[in-house]
Each structure stands twice: as C-alpha cells, then as structure tokens.
Amino acid sequence: MRYQEIKNEVLAAVTADESKYLQDCFDKINTSYSTNFVPVFSTLNRNLSVATRAKTIMFKDDDLIINDWEITQVIRVLFVYAINEDNPDIYYAFVDRLFVYSSIEELSALYASLNILEFPEKWQARCAEGIRNNIENVQKAVMLDNKYPANYLDQAAWNQLVLKSFFTQKNVLHIYGLFDRNNQHLAESIVDYIYERHSAKRNIHPILWLLAKNSLPERALNILCESMETTTDRIVQSILFHVMLVNNDKLKLSINLESLSNKLEIMPFSEEVLDAYKNGKLCVQI
C-alpha cells in the first residue's frame, strides 16, 4: 500500500487545521494504538467540517481500489494501516473488536481495509460475515472495489458474494476478480437464478449470462433468445449476442446469427462494452 502518498493526498484535500489535527491523530496511533486508536477512529466525523466530509478520493494503489471513496473512509483505512503490532493474536483481537463495536461508517472502512490488514488469512471468516451484512454501504465495502475476497475467500464464500451482489443490485462489474474466479458451481447457481427470474417475469441481469455462458442448458438458451428479442439496448444486445455466439452450436435457431447481428447493428463484444456497462452508459433502461 502506498501509505505515505495516499496520506499526502488526503492531507492536501483538507484544511490546514484539519491537516494538523489528522497528523496529530496519526502520531497518537503511532505512540500507543491500544489507548488512542478507538477515540481517534470514532470521533473522526465530528472533527472534520461538513465540506471536507463531502469530498471523495480517487487513487491508484496496488492493494486498494480507492474509487471515489469518501475521504473519511480513506482516513479511517489509513488509521487502521497505522496500527503497529507484531503479535498476531494481540493484533487480531484488537482489530476484531473494532468490527464488533463499529458504527456503519466504521464498519465500511474496516471491511474496505481487509486487504491491507496484517495476517490476511485470519480475516476470511470476518469477510464472509461482512457479505451477510444487510446494510448497503457495508455490503458495498466488502463486495465492490475490494481485492480481499478474490484473493482470500474460498469458493463457497466467493460464490455467495457474487450471488448476493446480484440479489442486492450492486454494480457487479466493480467486483474485483469477477471473471477470474468464475467457476462451475457458481454457473449452476446462476442458471437457477435465471430460471427463477424468468418464472417471476422479472428482468435478467445481462452479466449473469456472461458468468454462466459455458454452462447453459437448453431451457436457459431459450430464455436467452427470448431476452435478446425484447432487449433494445445496444450494450445489452452486445453482451447477449456474445453469449449466443459462444453457444452457437447448441442453439437450434432457424435464423443465421451473423445476419441477425448485421440486421440489429450489434456492437462487437469487447472490454469497451463491459466498461460502458460498468459505467452505466445504457441507452435505455432494461
């Protein structure tokens, strides 16, 4: 983690008084985290102005994906990183208690910190617990723009993360490692979900098709074709058409896919299509 650079970025974004205050906070944590961390961590909001708290930070880092995070979240993550304790048991007990006594904002920051916590393998159960949390911002902190789940979760917990992200309507393309950790078990659960959505006459998220594209039974392929007929958005069409092409040999279509593609002026599937989808550049609401 590029701790000092991120810290500098934050200090440059706050007022001179706030910068001095924050530097004092870091000094206190360095002096004795065991006595000073909790008061510093919990009272952060009330020591920053409303204008400062409204700021967000973007930063490219190897361990963290700081993508428009609230500045208070970045500061809290920096505070957590500043905890200096060599004994794994003492460190774990201290940080785990922070989770137990946390407010919503603190909990989000703690989950956002997972990938920079010491002794990373110890936090798998805590991460899985975070996925069960029912508070939107906490869920987001665990699921989205966070490298820890992809790096450390076992397959069962990972699959729960992905499925829950769809159920809770997250922007799933912000899940780090979404396609790299795709697996057969997940694909089967997704097909089940597609059937359920179809029976309930509800929309089917196009990214579901991408994750299950190599495991689609006949019934699912029929639903895919049906979705293609009713979709008018070009980006979604591009995604669905890509999945149809992958399954071309299994599709018993009377029409030629290439001619359909030309007729509908479907965009070729690419990273740009996914980026457009991720950034919400849909042409129409699906």
Binding site: P39, S103, Q169
Partner: protein
C-alpha cells in the same frame, strides 16, 4: 406502557379529524421515539407527515436483558441497522446511548454495561447519553444515573433524562438536583416526560423540558396546547416516545396541527416541534442543518445498471388499495 391502563372514554377527549393540510410544508423532529419497536409503515407515515429526523434513546425493551451481549447488540443496532433502516425511508436517525433505570437494578450486569458505554458514546449517530434516570428511585438507579452523568460531563455531550411514572414530581426534582450536583450545565440536559406539575420547576432551573404525547398514560396533546400557551415555547419540545405499547408515532405532527388550529403562533409551533430539539441535542455538530431542507437520499450513489433504483431515496411502496402483490 401496556399495563394498568385506565381507559376512561370520557377523559379521552372529543375526536378531531386527522387533517395535516394545516401543517403541510412544516418540518418536524421527534426527539424521543423507539423505532426498533415500530414498523416500516410507521417510517412511511412519519416521512409523509414531515418528520425529518428522529432521536431514539436506548431503553428497556419490554423485558429485562440478562447478558452483556444483548446490550451490545442493542446499542449496535441503534448506530447500525436501525439508522440504516430509517434512511431507507428518508428519515435521519440519531440516538442517545445509556443504561436505563430499570436495568440499573441488576448491579453486576449494570457494572459491565458501564464499562462498555465509552465504546459507543462517541460513535457517528450518537448525540448524547440517554435515556437515564429514575424509575423506582432505588439506590442502584441513583448510582448508575450519577455514573452516567459523569460520563456525559467528561464527553461534553447532552443527557436525556427519563423521569419516573410514580412519585414523578419528587423524582424529577431529584434528577435535576443530582445533575446540578455533578456540575452539568442545565442547557445540556433534557428532562423528559414532563407534566403540568413539573414544567415550571424544570424551566426555572434552565433545563430543557420534554413532553411525551402518549395516550392514556402520559400527556394528551390538548393539555400540551395549554402548556405552550401558558409557558411559551422556549426550551420546550414534544415527542411521541412511541414504542411497543399503545402509542402514536405521529404525536409530534398531530400536536403541531392541533396547536395551529388552537391559535398557537407558527414560530412557537416550530420551536416545540422542530428547532428546540435540534438545539438541545446539538445536532449541528453532527450534520449540516441545511440538509434538513432536502429530502434525504439514502444513498445518492446507489445505481443499478446506471439507473437510480431508489426513487427519491425511498423504498418502493406497496399499493395498499390492491390485493395484488407482485
């Protein structure tokens, strides 16, 4: 409270139609309401009636807790899940954290709770210590009331004081004397559940006076109108204290409506149903009060496939006039 009701219909007042037209556009704060005991319908009704912000004091949940963990989970829910739930309905949720008087009588558990309180009182969403004070007025209640006053003084945060149902006047006076003895500034103490019998003593000493509009057992809002006419609007606030009993979460907007209909000045109504509570609990230290002019968007960045899913920050509503559920 559900028990020992004296439901004398003759004393329940003459019904008046529910008409919020007169308070349309007004904003309200309910500075004492136990939302953990209420339904989503209540949140929607509060929002529709103009309640922008609620304060939920930690209280007795209807039966005694027997372990520290249940206290911990309860406090966590006040700063976590309940706060989030309220935001989903467009309502800003704050709380006060404390050990209530009834459970102060379990000394060994109360001692443990006291050790835990410092972890919670500085959290986001916590405005002060509450609701604390006397119920049976036992020595143990006094011990933990004093200890929590010291905690509030040290943290420099407001205190929300519950006054007893039984022997109320003496209990209220004693609560104030002890607070003064501990050096608390009366302007940082809200004495709650007042009546015609206690209001003068509370105001004379410089404390905030809370009035709970709660059917059958506490204040009725017709009496409240008379109190505001007699004592004015300074340092007075009304609340619902709605909980698991027969109570009314719309007590604040209903009382505002009644006050206006009975000739109380609009500026006074705004004080006792909105601004006094914000001032007493120093809400400006926690949020920009200007944001109360806007509808709360639970999560403005929440997007689903590029489309905002929470229209106006609200949870979608069910059509109550239809038997179809989809």
């Amino acid at each position: 409270m559900c028990t020992d009701l004296n439901r004398d219909l003759a004393k329940m007042g003459k019904p008046m139609p529910l008409d919020f037209e007169i308070i349309k556009g007004l904003k309200f704060v309910d500075p004492h309401i136990h939302m953990v005991s209420r339904t989503t319908d209540d949140y929607q009704a509060l929002f529709d009636a103009g309640v922008m912000l609620v304060i939920e004091p930690a209280f007795w949940v209807g039966q005694p807790r027997t372990g520290l963990s249940t206290f911990q989970d309860y406090y966590s829910s006040l700063i976590g899940w309940e706060r989030f739930r309220a935001a989903q309905f467009g309502i800003r949720h704050f709380c006060t954290i404390g050990l209530n008087s009834r459970e102060a009588n379990n000394e060994s558990l109360a001692d443990q709770v006291m050790e835990m309180l410092p972890f919670f009182i500085h959290k986001d969403g916590v405005l002060g210590i509450g609701e604390i004070g006397f119920d049976d007025q036992t020595p143990l209640e006094e011990k933990f009331y004093r200890a929590q006053l010291e905690l509030a003084k040290e943290a420099n945060i407001p205190v929300q004081v519950h006054t007893p149902h039984r022997d109320k006047t003496r209990g209220t006076l004693r609560s104030m004397e002890i607070a003064l003895e501990h050096g608390l500034d009366p302007s940082m103490v809200i004495i709650d559940h007042n009546s015609e019998e206690t209001v003068k003593d509370v105001l004379d000493r410089g404390f905030w006076a809370g009035f709970t509009i709660y059917p059958f057992t506490k204040m009725g809002n017709e009496r409240m109108v008379d109190i505001v006419k007699q004592y004015g609007a300074d340092k007075i606030m009304v609340n619902s204290a709605a909980d698991w009993g027969i109570s009314d979460p719309l007590a604040v907007p209903k009382t505002a409506s009644l006050m206006l209909q009975r000739g109380v000045a609009l500026t006074d109504v705004e004080k006792v149903t909105y601004s006094n509570a914000l001032e007493a609990f120093a809400v400006h230290k926690h949020i920009d009060l200007a944001t109360l002019e806007q509808t709360l968007i639970a999560d403005p960045t929440s997007k689903f496939e590029g489309n905002t899913i929470l229209r106006g920050g609200q949870q979608p509503r069910i059509d109550k006039s239809s038997i179809i559920i989809s």
